[in-house]
């Protein structure tokens, strides 16, 4: 009954199927599950519905799945860094559902937390609100947004243990905790697998109950927008 697997491929064994939905952690190229994305690409699984804030770049991150035309639909807040995305979108090969970033994050949290819907003022009066239930609370108008539960969650953490406890590092945390809770099954890749008991119990961002499988991967951690000042 060990949760620990040797690599991305074995950790995904038996979990992938055409048309499934996947919540993928990461913001830009930071904190993305690089190894799992690569293994999903190699699996050849098709028609994926992916909830992820961004779509990677052409040759890294979720862009690798776009290259192979494995994605049917993205639920994202910003896809501006990916030209392949735009080509496939304009060719009608790829559907996009834009969600405001905070709404996407809250939808994933809600899905994982057993909340099928919540009201938010975000997007009221915009295209995003069209077709959604409107409701007034204390004189302000809000729209109903749905919780998102996905077939699979794929996340990248800094350290993890055999119980599935995960801890993230700096802004590489981003959407990963939400994707871990939103996945009916969640697979995590970690930079370092550590012995149970060595993580700070007050800083376990994803408790083990949310992680069914994990493995230690190697990570390129590509930087999208290197910006520096003089030393």
């Amino acid at each position: 009954m060990s949760k620990v697997y040797a690599d991305a491929r074995s950790a995904l064994d038996g979990l992938l199927r055409d048309g499934m939905s996947i919540a993928a952690g990461g913001f830009g190229l930071s904190g993305i599950p690089e190894n799992l994305i690569q293994a999903i690409r190699e699996s050849g699984v098709k028609n994926l519905v992916i909830a992820s804030n961004n779509a990677g770049v052409d040759d890294f991150g979720l862009g690798l799945l776009l290259q192979e035309r494995q994605v049917a639909k993205m639920i994202s807040s910003y896809v501006g860094e990916n030209d392949l995305f735009m080509q496939q979108f304009l060719a009608g090969e790829l559907e996009i559902e834009f969600n405001p970033q905070g709404t996407l994050a809250e939808r994933l949290r809600a899905g994982g937390a057993g909340i099928p819907g919540f009201y938010t003022a975000t997007g009221v009066g915009t295209l995003i609100a069209e077709g959604k239930e409107h409701k007034e609370f204390d004189g302000r108008t809000y729209i109903l947004e749905r919780g998102l539960r996905m077939d699979l969650g794929i996340v990248k953490a800094w350290k993890g243990d055999a119980e599935g406890n995960l801890t993230y590092r700096k802004t590489a945390m981003n959407f990963n905790p939400e994707c871990a809770t939103a996945g009916t099954v969640t697979v995590a890749e970690v930079e370092e697998l550590v012995p149970v008991g060595t993580l700070d119990k007050m800083a376990i961002h994803t408790p083990g109950v949310y992680v069914q499988r994990l493995f230690q991967g190697s990570h390129e951690k590509r930087i999208e927008n290197r910006t520096t000042r003089a030393a």
């Binding site: 994933l108 975000t122 981003n174 927008n225």
Partner: protein, 209 residues
């Protein structure tokens, strides 16, 4: 003489008060942090999950796990805390951030903001902009008063799809500072040697006293 980018940012910095929690948009708003008074304790929020954002790193400090909402590498400060995306937007949506300073394509005289989408052009997405304008206590826009064709960006009604409806409190342009008030836009300040006539000439929105 109209303000340049840096002067607009400097003017925007005067919107900050000591102790404020601030979210700055991409572009000119980023420059605002250069003009914060040294004795102010201002805390920058980055919506990807950071409170207390520091300056860009030196080449040695670059860390792929430490970026801002524009995906630029940044640094942390002693007061920094990190959190997840849902926690970050709980902070934003819940009205805990004092002010957000954002760029815009268009602002209407009722405070509507358009800054995410041009129909017929490639749509990249709204990112966190809709959440920011709906949730943050005060929204200040920095933008050029007119577009490259010389057409007003301060309009009766926005022509582009909205980011938020009735959300803008104040607009800082190269020509001056403008408040969204009952009935239209009020001129609060003018850039040096910019006359009211100069402003009227490139403003479609209703100007009121």
């Amino acid at each position: 003489m109209p303000w340049d980018r840096n002067q607009m940012a400097e003017r925007a910095a005067a919107e900050l008060q000591d102790g404020f929690y601030v979210n700055l948009g991409i572009g000119i708003p980023t420059l605002v942090s250069n003009y914060v008074p040294a004795n102010y304790n201002i805390t920058l929020q980055s919506e990807n999950g950071m409170l207390g954002m520091g300056p860009f790193p030196t080449e040695d400090e670059v860390d792929p796990d430490l970026i801002n909402a524009g995906k630029q590498t940044v640094t942390e400060l002693s007061k920094t805390s990190y959190f997840s995306s849902s926690d970050s937007f709980a902070m934003i949506r819940g009205g805990h951030i004092d002010i957000s300073i954002l760029g815009a394509m268009e602002v209407s005289e009722t405070g509507d903001l358009a800054n995410w989408m041009i129909p017929g052009r490639l749509v990249k997405g709204m990112g966190g902009a809709m959440d920011l304008v709906a949730g943050v206590k005060r929204i200040v826009v920095i933008m050029d008063h007119a577009n490259r064709k010389g057409e007003s960006k301060l309009l009766r009604e926005c022509s582009l799809p909205l980011t938020g409806k009735g959300v803008v409190d104040r607009v800082i342009t190269n020509l001056g500072v403008f408040d969204v008030v009952e009935g239209g836009i009020r001129v609060l300040e003018r850039a040096p040697d910019v006359s009211l006539a100069d402003i009227e000439a490139v403003t479609e929105a209703t100007l009121v006293d």
